[in-house]
Structure formats: C-alpha cells, structure tokens
Symmetry: C2
Subunit: 356 residues, 2 copies
C-alpha cells in the first residue's frame, strides 16, 4: 500500500478490536464464523451503533414514510465464477432474495453493483448478467438500478457483485431470531452442504462418482407457503450460508439466549456429501448452503410446516432436525447417532474461503 | 483464470456488445464516459431490461406496497483510500446519499457491503468505518444493514465498499432527466474539479502551492433547500461525478433530446484547479466532483434558486453556467471565452481511473 492508504492514526478513537491478536484482516474474518462475528461486533456495530442494525437479522426492517421496507445487502466474491448448479450471477440474486425472504418478506426490487477487473472477457460478463436476470425473473423481482466500477488488472478477481434487495413484509409474518423459545421445533427444507461441497470439489479439482451440484435456489415461494400455512407460528427463519447450519443456529441461540439441540439421526445429509466432506476434511454442519432454510416454529405448528415443505418442490427432503431447549442457553448441542452429546460451536477459522 | 471461471459459451444468446472491438473489460468501461455508457446500454440494459432501470436516473423510484421509495447503489474503489478532504468511507456515504438526493429524496437508511483484502490493517478499517458513521450521522441517515467478505491477498485492493441508499421523496419533488426543456437554466453549486484533482495530485505525488482538497460533501440539505424554494421548478438534478460536468450534461441532453449550451466565462473553476489540470493534462469539465450538484431549472425560478444556493454553506460559489436549447439535440456546446463554440462530447477513455 502507498503512503496515502494509511490512515492518520491520530484521528478519532482507536479500533476497539483487540488488534494485538488480529492486527490485520484474515480470510477467516469473512468466513461467517467466530472471527466474522468478532469483526461485526467490535468494528462495525461499534462504529455504526443503531437499533436497526443491532437486530442482527439477515436484513433490516426500515420505516420509510408510510411503508415498512425490508432491505438486505450482500457482496459475492465466489471463486470460481461458474460452478456446477450456478454462477456468481444466479448466486448473487438467490443469496439476496433469500435474505429478504428470511425476514418474512417478498423481494420486489434488486440493486446490482459490479466491480470488474480489467481484462474480464465481455462474454463472461454477459453470461453472468443473463443469469442474474433469469434468477430475478424467476422470483418476480426486477433489477432496478446498478453501478459498475473497473479496477486495474491484479487488483480484483474477475468480477465481484454486490446485490441489495428490497421487499415488503408478507401478511402474517413476524419472524425474528429473538422469537426462538424453548419447546420450538427446528426444521430444514432439505439436505445439507451441497453448495459448499460442489464449489470446493471443482475448486480442488476433485471428481466424485456422483456429480454434486450446488443447491443455490430462491426460497421466496417456499417461505410464502409456510407463512401462509402457519403465520406467526413461524418464529425464526434463517438461511445457513457461510458457516453452515452450525454457525446459523449458534447465532440464533446467542441472540435469543436459548439452547438448541440437534439430533444427528435427523440431519438430512446425502451420502455423497458425507463422502466428499471426508475427503475434503469438512464437517457438513459447517458447510455453506444456498437453497436451504432453517425454520424455528411453534411445536404445535411443526407438523403442518413439515407437510407444507414436503409439498413444495424445494422441500421434498425437509426434516425436523432439532428443538429449542432451556438448557445451555447460547449454545448448540448435537445428540450423536450413538447416543452421546457434543457441543457444536461456531465455525472457527475458514476452511471454505470465497464460497459466496 | 481457472477453467471454472469460463462460462459455457453455448448457453444463451451471445453478448450483444460488438466484442470484436472490446472483447475484454477496459479501465475506461468504469470511467463514466462513452465506454461506460456502451457497457450499460449493450450489456446491463440489454440483459436486465425493465422500465424502472431504463429511466437511467441516479437511482430508482420503486413502488413498495403503499410507499414510493428511492434507492441508489454505488461501489467505491478509490485509490488511495485516504486523500485530502476525505477517505473511501466518507466518500462511500456522500456518493450514495447524493445519488438519492439527486432523485429529489431524503436519504433515510444505508446498506454497506465491504470487500476486504486479506492483510488490510484492522486500524485502517476502523478509521474508515468511523468516517462512514460520521458522514451518515451528518445527514441523519443510519447504516441499517451490511455484509463483509474477505478475498485473498492480491485479489482485492485493501477495501472496496458498496453503499446502497434508501430514501423518501421530498415534498414537491419532481425531478427527472426527461424534464430538461429548451429555455431552462443550468446551475451548479460551486467550483468544479476539486475531487478529481485532489485525488490525482496525491496519487501522482504532485505538490501544488495551494493544498487542494476534495469537495466531497453531502448535498441532501442543499437539495432540500432548493426544492423547498422552487418546487417542481427544479426539473433535473445530477451530481457530476465520474466523467465530470461534460459527461453528466451529455447524458441529460441525450435522454431529454435537447441541446445544452455552456458559457465558459460562467464556469466556476479555481485558478489552482486550472493549473493542476494543465500539469496533469486534464480538462476540468471532465474531472470528477463529489460535492457538486447540477440543477436544471425553469428560467423564471433560476434567480431564486441561485439566491438559495448562495445562502447555503455548500453553495457560496454557485453560478449559472448555461442553458437548455432547441438546437443540436443530444449534444453539449461550449461558448468559449473568445466567442467561439465547440462541442463538448462525453468522456472517451479514462484519464482518471478509480477516482470514486
């Protein structure tokens, strides 16, 4: 970095993060686990402190004049740009419309910001733009505004995309991580780990007997269906992307000050994902998904929700995977196949960099 | 790029841009001039085609339930991160709140997406976050949601920031590039070229006798004041950032199918900016501003608007710089000091890469 890149350290308060431990940004600060959480808490929340940001949902609920608008933003830096089951364009739409959906809202408009590296083939950009349009069209949202910047060769990596989604709350929706309470049931709409394993496999040049494809998909319609069926019996929705199911549930447990107990026998994980995870040295509970939704629902509505999920094209492998408990508030435990229990902590480190 | 980065060219239609001329992305595709416009027209508008996007405003006006919401997005890749008069954090807020203001709206909420390069000093990130917060606080907007990604060393450049701004229309606002009509008067709130020249000077290691500072500033309050005074007599608002006044006015002229005539004697350009531009080989009309607003107003309201601008802290050097005419629709001409005229075209090439 040049001299001009250095801040004038005499200005303002010093960074509250204990920078003796982490004086520079590490890949793991972007991994969705413990270090991501520390960066969020100690830098961004500390600097930007305000009540809306502090709800720590997948998006924000904002009062704009007479309307309540849901907004969510995400940058996509996945490598490689094209992978089995999608590309950075479809992912950038799915990731953001899913975050809007996880707030109980229907996505209406999308903003797209592109950071292109000098030398990117124009044909590649065109394919990505077409994928975005197709993914947006599928959920009935429009890409309403955008921006393009170009950085010099070697200062980017092909293309990075930021998408921001705007949506309106669905009727009856009242979802928030704070609504998880003891007795609730934890469901997921299908098998875990497909996105991360598919991307890592192609990146590492591994070939498996069964071709693994990313599960990247828009969850808006599925969320609409379960909210229509169970209304405010749906307490929490969360898509387990970076950091996987383990990190997502740890965040919810910490926010709601409840415990969550998973049952290993109930976890829908395909054999080929288990096999790939063994080869790659990954735990499927920490692997990113892009078409999966965790739903924490009132116990008395769980069967209806499961039935509704099973009837949906994106929910045929849906399962009840655990429950919310009074014990060990803030933590997630797994009841193993052989009857023992172990704590499932947040991801620490980042075995899957640039997965989204 | 690895094999996975290549698109499957057999999918979908081919890129409509004449890629024989530009098979890859050039820095100038991000410069705000002719090639940026071509990329927008032939790739993004072609792929995303929809009526809201096609208004080609600085932001989009979106119907969300009962509300009309203004939304604008921008990515910031400026080099260096800290420059005289600001840094990437303050710029990322000013740039986006100004785009919202140019739609005649008051910014309410901001989303922030960070793409960090592994190795960025944590203290630098903290300073940038504090600058963002200070800039947002100044305009009464909150940073309501965000996202952080980390890319490996050498695949980014310190930090890139995407900001998306949401706002509500100000009472009486009816601004659109399509409202420019012959007879209207073109005003600007102050002297031109400061941001670009300040950044280029430090980047090139040049020193001038007078220290030049970026004009980066939030224009929300200034826009509120002139809209309060002249209401729908304000026809068009535009901040002349990348590509400068010349490119901004060319875009408006093309959209409204009108001519615009500038008077060189009326252009507020400081002597030190002229001098720096001569050394740097730049034309001040093409240099980026970050605290300037072009207002195209009904002739009968021009004096009131000028008076209002002069009374505002960000408008003391405001001036009438030209008029909208019937002649040469789609083009901008400059009446020179010596009485001649010359066409002022869109920026072609990009003499000022990564200026915002």
């Amino acid at each position: 970095m040049s001299a001009g890149d250095r801040s004038d350290l005499s200005r303002g308060p010093r960074c509250p993060l204990p920078i003796a431990d982490h004086p520079t940004v590490l890949l793991a600060h972007g991994g969705g686990g413990r270090l991501s959480r520390m960066l969020l808490d100690r830098v961004f929340l500390e600097a930007f402190r305000n009540p809306i940001l502090e709800t720590l949902h997948d998006g924000a609920l904002l009062d704009l004049g007479d309307a309540r608008v849901v907004v969510s933003t995400d940058s996509f830096v996945i490598r490689p740009l094209f992978f089995p089951g999608g590309d950075i364009g479809s992912l950038a739409v799915h990731g953001t419309v899913n975050d809007v959906a996880m707030c109980g809202a229907k996505p209406v408009g999308l903003c797209a910001g592109f950071i292109l590296e000098e030398g990117l083939p124009m044909e590649t950009l065109w394919q990505i733009a077409c994928s975005m349009q197709e993914a947006a069209r599928e959920v009935g949202a429009s890409i309403v505004t955008g921006d393009t910047k170009v950085v010099d060769r070697g200062k980017g990596d092909g293309v990075f995309i930021n998408t921001t989604g705007l949506g309106v709350l669905l009727p009856g929706a009242d979802v928030s991580p704070l609504r998880a309470r003891a007795g609730d049931v934890v469901l997921v709409n299908g098998s875990l780990g497909l996105h991360g394993v598919a991307v890592m496999s192609i990146r590492e040049g591994l070939e498996f007997e069964t071709a693994l494809e990313s599960d990247s998909a828009p969850l808006c319609d599925l969320v609409r269906c379960i909210l229509e069926r169970a209304g405010n019996g749906i307490h929490v929705l969360r898509d387990p992307t970076r950091g996987g199911v383990a990190s997502a549930l740890n965040e919810i447990a910490a926010q709601a000050r409840v415990g969550i107990r998973l049952d290993e026998r109930g976890l829908p994980i395909r054999e080929e994902v288990r096999g790939a995870c063994e080869i790659l040295g990954l735990d499927p509970l920490y692997v990113a998904n892009e078409g999966k939704c965790l739903a924490i629902v009132a116990r008395e509505r769980a069967d209806e929700v499961l039935e509704t999920l099973h009837a949906h094209p994106l929910g045929d492998e849906a399962a009840i995977i655990g429950e919310v408990v009074d014990e060990h508030p803030g933590r997630v435990v797994l009841r193993t196949r052989i009857g023992g229990t172990r704590f499932v902590d947040m991801l620490s480190g980042d075995p899957l960099p640039r997965i989204c």
